[in-house]
């Protein structure tokens, strides 16, 4: 028990210190050694914390009541950040964006100095924070290790990009520290600081290459996230002045649940901020833009941390959102995002963009779960988050490794990847299958999300999820088919994946399979208590009988193809040429047509880019979602004042 405060401080401060240290060390090998050891230490600390937490009976832990000095440090840090953002905005002539930093910082200073003070703990640890902490440490740590190998390959491949690897690693570690702070803090004043730090880190990572596109995209990410920060700051200030200085997130949720005056506005504003962070419509474009960054930063931004921060806040707020109009609007915005971004993902050939769009769409489903806010949907949402973190990290890293070897991240260029880069294709298979296929992960989550939306009489949401999930199946299956498509061009190519990259990929793949297999155990021992902590009560989301059936389904789906494959492996057969409507030439890769001309065979997937591409759908979708959010915010403001 006594170790907990030290472990928490270690997890927050250590990565930041290491980040700055890495920036100062000129030698590359030394840097790599230090970075690897630090990641190992971070993971060890996270696991230690988890063990200590569970040995103490897995009950919520409150820490740090006397924090006058730390509060001052945080205030100074906020001001430093503001100055930094303002300088960057002026340097790149985006003057107005600096206002989005200056105003909220001003509000926070005002709140800190003028609002009444109450005795409160600033750190709160429960199952949800422990889960986030593990995701950040393990998945984030893997990405940091992967980045070491990847960035070498990246700079060999992109010789035009100025080399700023030291800076890159500094930001990555800073990011990890800020995320730990974010999920441990209960004081909204602290949360606000870590929020701003992650916004700035993502801004710096997206702008890594310093091309014009990268700079524009990084500023887009910055202003959208800062806008969220502004709403967060207004919410916090309102809460502090209306509730005698209470700025505890847990207090806010329980007060809103009990219907205490002056808590609706903060809940709605913080939820709005969370939507910007998790890139929901209309704010999805920043995440698309973030794809210009090197792969580890997109993986870090997407899977492990940044976007999950928004979801984390929404899950915390969920009991307060349940059954309110605000919650319903948020659920519908989430469902709408789920549907529209899935449609847009069909039209994408760029693997990284497909991953980005599917990330947004999955986050949409999680937001819908949080918006409905019943214990069942939160249960489903937590599982979605777990599966999504691991599989998306795996997929992003895998696509990055494939790109380094194939020099393209176009899905069409992955035709027959299974025969060309078997290892990487196999990992991609695991990642994709775990993303959407029943009975792994997604199944239970979809199952209970659908059930809950019917139970809450939300027709629009039911339809959004049903159609969205049909579309999700389309683009993933299409991609899977590409991997195994066979043509004669499929010669094995040199796999230049570095060992550090392979290490992270393997860990993530193993984790993924374990999650699929151990999921019933995780449900009863970890997620159920988590829901109890948030709601106080719990009823079985998935009845026992279904759980057994589910286990049987998982086993059958694993076993059937393997057994069939083994049985079929040695059976003799006559090799035939495929029918091409002409005379086959060579081996099935070209043919002579009826005019006597030789035609080359080229197989591609359907994309319909001209009909349902981002260019066509993004702006209308953004407008619709924006309209819903404007209604939500104006309702709250109108009712509150």
């Amino acid at each position: 028990m006594s170790a907990v405060p030290y472990l928490v401080s270690f997890l927050i401060i250590f990565p930041m210190v290491i980040g700055f240290l890495l920036f100062l060390i000129p030698s590359k090998p030394v840097r790599k050694v230090i970075a690897s050891i630090s990641v190992a230490l971070i993971v060890a600390a996270a696991i230690w914390l988890t063990v200590v937490y569970f040995l103490n009976g897995a009950e919520g832990i409150w820490l740090f009541e006397e924090t006058e000095i730390v509060d001052k440090v945080i205030l100074v840090a906020e001001i430093v950040l503001m100055v930094f953002i303002t300088i960057m905005c002026f340097r790149y002539k985006k003057y107005w964006i600096s206002l989005l930093s200056i105003i909220p910082t001003g509000l926070m200073i005002w709140t800190e100095l003028r609002a009444p003070k109450v005795e409160m703990a600033h750190i709160y640890i429960d199952n949800l924070s422990i889960l986030m902490c593990l995701i950040i440490a393990v998945v984030g740590g893997c990405i940091a290790i992967y980045a070491m190998g990847y960035m070498d390959g990246y700079h060999e491949h992109h010789t035009d990009v100025p080399e700023r690897r030291k800076f890159f690693f500094m930001v990555v570690f800073l990011f990890l520290g800020a995320m730990f702070g974010f999920v441990f803090s209960d004081s909204l004043m602290w949360i606000d600081l870590f929020w701003e730090i992650t916004s700035v880190c993502s801004f710096l990572l997206i702008g890594y290459t310093k091309t014009e596109e990268a700079i524009n995209n990084s500023f887009r990410a910055l202003w959208m996230n800062l806008l969220g920060g502004l709403f967060l700051a207004v919410g916090i200030m309102y809460l502090a002045f209306m509730n005698d200085g209470q700025v505890s997130l847990v207090y806010l949720v329980s007060a809103a649940w009990m219907g205490i005056e002056g808590t609706y506005l903060p809940v709605a504003f913080i939820a709005f901020a969370a939507l910007t962070k998790s890139a929901q419509l209309p704010f999805s474009t920043w995440l698309m833009g973030a794809m210009v960054a090197p792969t580890p930063s997109s993986a870090l931004l997407h899977s492990a941390t940044m976007v999950k921060a928004g979801i984390y806040v929404l899950f915390r707020l969920a009991p307060a959102l349940s059954g309110t109009v605000t919650g319903t609007i948020i659920a519908v915005v989430g469902g709408f995002t789920f549907l529209m971004t899935s449609i847009m993902a069909i039209a994408q050939t760029d693997a990284k963009k497909v991953l980005a769009l599917s990330t947004v769409s999955n986050l949409g489903l999680m937001v819908a779960c949080a918006g409905m806010g019943t214990s069942g949907t939160i249960w489903a949402g937590i599982f979605l988050m777990m599966f999504h973190s691991v599989s998306k990290a795996l997929l992003f890293m895998d696509v990055g490794a494939v790109e380094n070897s194939v020099h393209s991240r176009d899905i069409e260029d992955m035709h027959g990847l299974l025969y060309r880069l078997p290892r990487l294709a196999f990992f991609m298979f695991i990642g994709i299958v775990a993303m959407y296929l029943a009975p792994f992960g997604m199944l239970v989550s979809k199952w209970s999300a659908l059930k809950a939306s019917v139970d809450s009489n939300n027709i629009i949401l039911v339809l959004l999820i049903v159609f969205g999930s049909a579309i999700t199946g389309f683009y993933w299956t299409k991609w899977l088919g590409k991997l195994i498509g066979r043509t004669a061009y499929n010669r094995q190519i040199k796999d230049i994946t570095k060992s550090s990259e392979m290490f992270s990929l393997t860990i993530n793949a193993v984790l993924m399979v374990l999650l699929c297999l151990l999921f019933p155990f995780l449900s009863s021992s970890f997620v159920d208590p988590l829901v109890v902590q948030l709601y106080g009560t719990y009823q079985d989301v998935i009845p026992g009988e279904i759980l057994y059936i589910l286990i049987i389904c998982v086993i059958v789906t694993f076993a059937v193809p393997i057994v069939c494959f083994l049985a079929n492996r040695k059976r003799p057969f006559d090799q035939k040429l495929a029918y091409m409507g002409g005379i086959n030439e060579d081996y099935d890769n070209s043919y002579t047509d009826s005019y006597g001309e030789k035609e080359k065979l080229w197989l591609t997937n359907y994309y319909f880019a001209h009909k349902i591409g981002q260019r066509k759908l993004m702006i209308p979708s953004q407008l619709i979602a924006l309209a819903a959010l404007v209604i939500m915010i104006s309702r709250v403001i109108g009712g509150a004042f």
Partner: protein, 294 residues
């Protein structure tokens, strides 16, 4: 009153054993009726079985080795899914597993080098996207009507679910045309090999593999018609509703044959928009009414 576990196992095993015979017989009847509609005599009733036994005797020839194992997996997973339904478990879960099984069919089409097979596989995916909402909504409809996803409970519901969810019934019957690969929606495997698609998804299947594909179709047909039956069956008048249910199942099957014989294939875009429109309207209106009444 719950059915004992042993009886439920017998149902599941009965499905595994009998479904191919029922499915084959239905196909035989269907061919006969089709022939009569076209003023032909038509093949003998048991022709589908003769076809299968002939296919099984043929020498193995394939374009790729992997096709065999993918198709076998497809068949086994469909059988497993059907057995789950007849065992009386969760319907939504059965439907979600159904799309997992369908993945293997898609892969079996893609893994060949054939352009027609790959194109057919792509179209199969579009079909899946078209019918999936209606299928999922059907499960949700039963949940609204009966209060449970359990097939067991649905089977023993006091009122025929169709009285409460007629809209869902319409949507489900509509997508049966796609699932049974009948025109106008035979996008992925055309009836006649001399068209732009050749035989689509099945172009490169021969001998044993084609037999596996056909038998799986029978299993799936029985599975889907069983869902139609569930719309009608109730426990207040089990015998009458059961008989009416069988009547409706046969009528539905006849309707599919009639549609098949009277329409030409439409463009897949038409299919997608039409199916989604029907699903949205009939299920949406039904949902709206139910949620107001509830």
């Amino acid at each position: 009153m719950l059915t004992p576990l042993s009886v439920r196992f017998i149902y599941a095993i009965a499905y595994i054993v009998l479904a191919p015979f029922i499915g084959g017989l239905l196909e035989g009847i269907g061919r006969k009726i089709s022939a009569r509609m076209q003023r032909r005599v038509g093949p003998p009733l048991l022709q589908p079985f003769y076809d299968i036994s002939k296919l099984l005797k043929k020498k193995r020839s394939q374009v790729t080795r992997a096709q065999g194992f993918l198709l076998t997996s497809y068949m086994l997973l469909i059988i497993f899914t059907g057995a789950m339904l007849f065992f009386g478990t969760d319907m939504l879960m059965c439907f979600l597993m159904l799309s997992t099984a369908a993945l293997f069919l898609y892969l079996a089409g893609c893994v060949t080098t054939s352009p027609y097979s790959s194109l057919g596989a792509q179209r199969e995916l579009i079909q899946e996207m078209a019918y999936e909402p209606a299928i999922l909504l059907t499960a949700l409809g039963f949940y609204l009507a009966v209060g449970s996803f359990d097939v067991e409970t649905i089977y023993n519901s006091p009122v025929s679910p169709i009285m409460i969810i007629p809209g869902f019934f319409v949507a489900f019957v509509f997508i049966l045309t796609i699932k049974m690969r009948k025109s106008p929606f035979d996008e992925s495997t055309s009836h006649h090999p001399h068209q732009e698609l050749v035989k689509g998804l099945t172009s490169e299947m021969s001998g044993r593999n084609l037999a596996i594909f056909n038998v799986t179709e029978w299993y799936e047909t029985v599975f889907l018609l069983a869902v139609v039956f569930l719309f009608i069956k109730n426990s207040s008048a089990p015998l009458v509703s059961g008989l009416v249910g069988i009547g409706v199942v046969l009528l539905t099957y006849f309707l599919e044959i009639l549609i098949d014989n009277t329409s030409a294939r439409v463009h897949w875009e038409r299919m997608l928009t039409l199916t989604w429109a029907v699903t949205l309207c009939s299920c949406g209106v039904n949902l709206l009414v139910l949620m107001i009444v509830r």
